[in-house]
């Protein structure tokens, strides 16, 4: 049973969801709802179990490489289809399979009204999604990572466009895929660059590429800057950063559990994972790190401002995700890879919780997503209410909820990078608290503002939906305790220690404990103030909010979509249309047709010479004689 022991058992982690995908996908017309849900969730449960096993068996030190077969091997270029098990990947495995499992369970109830074949399709996609994500985090080299990377893009495309009869939804799906592909192109070029310089794409060869004590570096600093920058551009596509973030809010078109899956456990964290995975390269490229930090903090701020004035419950959460991802990139850019990974984890807990909670609300409201038409749901949805509250507190970053620890780590690293980053990040954190509690109070506080029909229909969701909520709520509370700051308990930051084989502990500048305490106190205090402000403003919702131009600007998301539409999409469309209807027929084909036409025209003209006029014939004859004689007598000498 060598297969079923560590580490070979890890093969099963991606294979199980793949199996679920195949069974549900191919037999979806022959299975009952129950069977489909059981298979879909069952494989996830198994995968989670195995992930736990793997997690606890990870040997410290060198990563475990599992090579399945040669994917591409040409001469010295070797790209094996291999998996890498180490602290980083095993942590992500846990997050993905764990939260994935909960989302599967939740979905089994949420999607129950779909017909069996669509239900099967949904679970198949979900499983495929998880499979791709597992491939992404388990891949032992950039190419396998890229396979998962694009696979995730595909699955998000399929799931966002799950309700394919709605054209707008399938357009949102297209947008997600295409924007991802823009990033993917940069990623690909980075891979080629890496191959060109080092001849290898394996993560284990990265130290060698940068150069270790005994060896000279294969990559020059220009190479490293270029590669890391391109990889980062790839990450902006996948992880929804400026300028490629606009697909993520539109991705709300998919079923709500899918949003939870995309935003919390999979997909958007891929960029963070990839950069954390390449931390050796990034550390060697300080310029790119600064760029990342700038982009990250800018995205965080931009998305947070937009979230202030969104009225769709899922849109608010979506922009909050973009904003939180900005935080993570800020952490990466500050060199605090562990903090970023930490935030990925805690964010996975509370964002999944929030999305599933919003799903529960939407479920209860019969599909209504506009928070202005909600309110007072506390009584009818008690479990949802309490878990949602926990999620909001966690994301706002109140001690001792998980968000506090990770956000604190990020703010600290930002402070170390530059106080300007810290100030902006802190401001964004305030905004975060504000819009989350605006959302919370509008949804659950006050009195009900929906229709009478909806009021009758209000109900708490079934157990399959509430249990995941509760589990996630607990995780949102305790999840941060793995990373207690060093200033409180020595050795409290167990995450840093755990990840140290992959992400070397930097012996960066230390700051005094006092400063650290001040920073913590500052952020917590301001956040609390911000929540109070939100409570004051939204405890009783007034139908008309003041419509300042700035508010409208925010409501319309700074018109970024419109800008892209006008600056990129429309010109491309116009260009395509022009080429198709003008250039192609008139110029490209016209040149060819023109040759044909001119031959025809010339033959028409030459035909006129043959006009039947004997006089003309005689004339030509004479000219011919003259020419022949001239040639004969004068030219041949």
């Amino acid at each position: 049973m060598a297969m079923l022991s560590f580490p070979n058992i890890a093969y099963l982690i991606p294979l199980l969801p793949l199996l679920g995908f195949l069974v549900n996908g191919l037999l979806r017309n022959h299975l009952s709802h129950r069977a489909i849900a059981l298979i879909g969730s069952g494989v996830m449960a198994l995968a989670f179990g195995i992930s736990l096993l793997v997690f606890y068996n990870i040997p410290a030190g060198a990563p475990t490489i599992l090579t399945a077969f040669d994917f591409i091997r040409i001469g010295e270029l070797q790209i094996p289809f291999a998996f890498q098990l180490d602290a980083l990947s095993s942590l992500f495995l846990l997050i993905i399979t764990g939260i994935g499992f909960l989302i599967h369970v939740y979905s089994s109830a949420y999607m129950h009204e779909e017909s069996a074949s669509h239900y099967g399709r949904y679970f198949a996609y979900l499983n495929l999604f998880v499979f791709s994500m597992l491939l992404l985090v388990m891949g032992a080299n950039y190419v396998i990572l890229f396979i998962g990377w694009e696979g995730v893009g595909l699955c998000s495309y399929l799931l966002i466009g799950y309700w394919f009869r709605n054209t707008a939804y399938s357009q949102a799906a297209n947008k997600a895929f295409v924007m991802n592909r823009i990033g993917d192109l940069a990623f690909l070029i980075a891979i080629f660059w890496l191959i060109a310089r080092t001849g290898s794409v394996s993560f284990t060869d990265l130290p060698m590429a940068i150069g270790t004590a005994g060896q000279s570096a294969k990559l020059s600093s220009l190479d490293i800057t270029g590669i890391t920058l391109l990889l980062f551009i790839g990450a902006t596509g996948k992880s929804a950063q400026i300028p490629l973030y606009t697909w993520l809010p539109d991705a709300m078109a998919g079923p709500t559990p899918v949003s939870a899956l995309i935003h919390a456990a999979t997909m958007v964290t891929a960029g963070i994972y990839m950069i954390a995975r390449s931390n050796l390269l990034y550390t060697a490229a300080p310029l790119v790190l600064t760029i990342i930090a700038i982009i990250g903090v800018a995205t965080a701020l931009l998305a947070a401002t937009i979230a202030l004035r969104q009225n769709d419950i899922k849109k608010v959460l979506a922009y909050s995700t973009v904003s939180q991802l900005g935080f993570m990139f800020l952490a990466l850019g500050s060199g605090a890879y562990v903090a970023a990974v930490f935030h990925v984890m805690t964010h996975a807990f509370f964002k999944a919780l929030l999305f599933l909670g919003s799903g529960s609300v939407i479920h209860a409201m019969s599909g209504e997503q506009d928070i202005r038409k909600m309110g007072g749901l506390k009584k009818s949805l008690p479990i949802t209410y309490w878990t949602f509250l926990i999620g909001c507190v966690a994301i706002a970053g109140i001690f001792p909820f998980s968000g506090f620890f990770s956000k604190d780590a990020i703010l600290l690293s930002a402070f170390l990078k530059s106080p300007i980053f810290y100030v902006i990040a802190l401001f964004t954190a305030l905004l975060t608290a504000f819009y989350m509690f605006r959302l919370f109070f509008l949804t659950f506080g006050g009195s009900f503002r929906g229709t009478e029909e909806q009021r009758h229909h209000l109900h708490e969701s079934p157990a399959a939906m509430t249990i995941p909520l509760v589990v996630l709520a607990i995780l949102s509370i305790v999840g941060g305790w793995v990373g207690i700051p060093e200033v409180w308990i020595h050795g409290g930051d167990r995450l840093v220690a755990f990840l140290s084989p992959v992400i070397p502990v930097s012996s960066g500048h230390e700051i005094s404990h006092a400063t650290e305490y001040i920073l913590m106190g500052l952020s917590t205090g301001l956040v609390l103030l911000s929540i109070l402000f939100a409570w004051n403003k939204y405890k009783q919702y007034r139908a008309e909010e003041s419509e300042s131009p700035f508010a409208r600007l925010l409501e319309n998301k700074w018109y970024v979509d419109e800008l892209y539409q006008a600056a990129i999409v429309q010109p491309l469309h116009k260009l395509g249309g022009w080429i198709r209807s003008v250039f192609e027929p008139k110029v490209a084909d016209g040149a060819i047709q023109g040759i044909g036409r001119s031959v025809r025209y010339l033959s028409q003209q030459f035909r006129l010479i043959q006009n039947g006029q004997t006089g003309n014939y005689a004339l030509w004859m004479v000219i011919g004689i003259v020419v022949i004689l001239s040639v004969q007598f004068f030219l041949r000498k």
């Binding site: 006089g615 004339l619 004479v622 000219i623 004689i625 003259v626 004689l629 001239s630 004969q632 007598f633 004068f634």
Partner: protein, 173 residues
């Protein structure tokens, strides 16, 4: 004093002038008359070259029979200056130019020919006499001579058929 060159030049100028007038006359009847003039000039040349037989035949056959035939036809059709069709000026110009080029090319080609120094026998020699030619014609050239009679026969029949067929067609229509 030798008058031969003067006669030669006179006849040459006459021939060329008549030929030009023939080509340029608007009225076909004038053309015919000028052409007859040319033929006379050429006959004069024949006499100068002591080709008596040809000179006489030229006058009788060409200037006499053939040109009279032309004249008849023209008068029969009542062609005159007014009915004369004209080519447009460009075509005329191009035609003249082409002919001029032809002359130019031929002259240029032949002016340095090796027979430059050769002379044509003027005023003497007996080969142009009927006796000599007749002997040649009926001995060495007797077969072509007989064949040419066939040619005449067929031409005669042809002319008659063409003329007759036309009348029958006209009648039918």
């Amino acid at each position: 004093m030798n008058v031969t060159p003067y006669i030669f030049w006179f006849l040459s100028v006459l021939a060329l002038f008549s030929a030009l007038m023939m080509v340029t006359s608007r009225n076909p009847v004038y053309s015919v008359l000028w052409l007859i003039g040319t033929f006379f000039a050429i006959s004069g040349h024949y006499i100068l070259l002591n080709a008596q037989f040809l000179a006489v035949v030229n006058i009788i056959v060409y200037a006499g029979a053939i040109m009279v035939l032309f004249l008849f036809v023209i008068m029969l059709m009542n062609l005159n200056r007014e009915t004369e069709p004209q080519k447009n000026r460009w075509l005329k110009f191009i035609g003249a130019l082409a002919g001029g080029c032809l002359l130019l090319v031929l002259v240029a080609a032949l002016k340095d020919a090796e027979l430059k120094s050769q002379q044509a026998m003027v005023g003497g020699g007996s080969i142009g006499l009927i006796k000599v030619l007749g002997k040649e014609l009926f001995t060495r050239y007797v077969v072509p001579f007989e064949i040419s009679s066939l040619l005449f026969l067929s031409a005669m029949i042809g002319a008659a058929v063409i003329g007759k067929k036309e009348t029958s067609q006209t009648l039918n229509s």
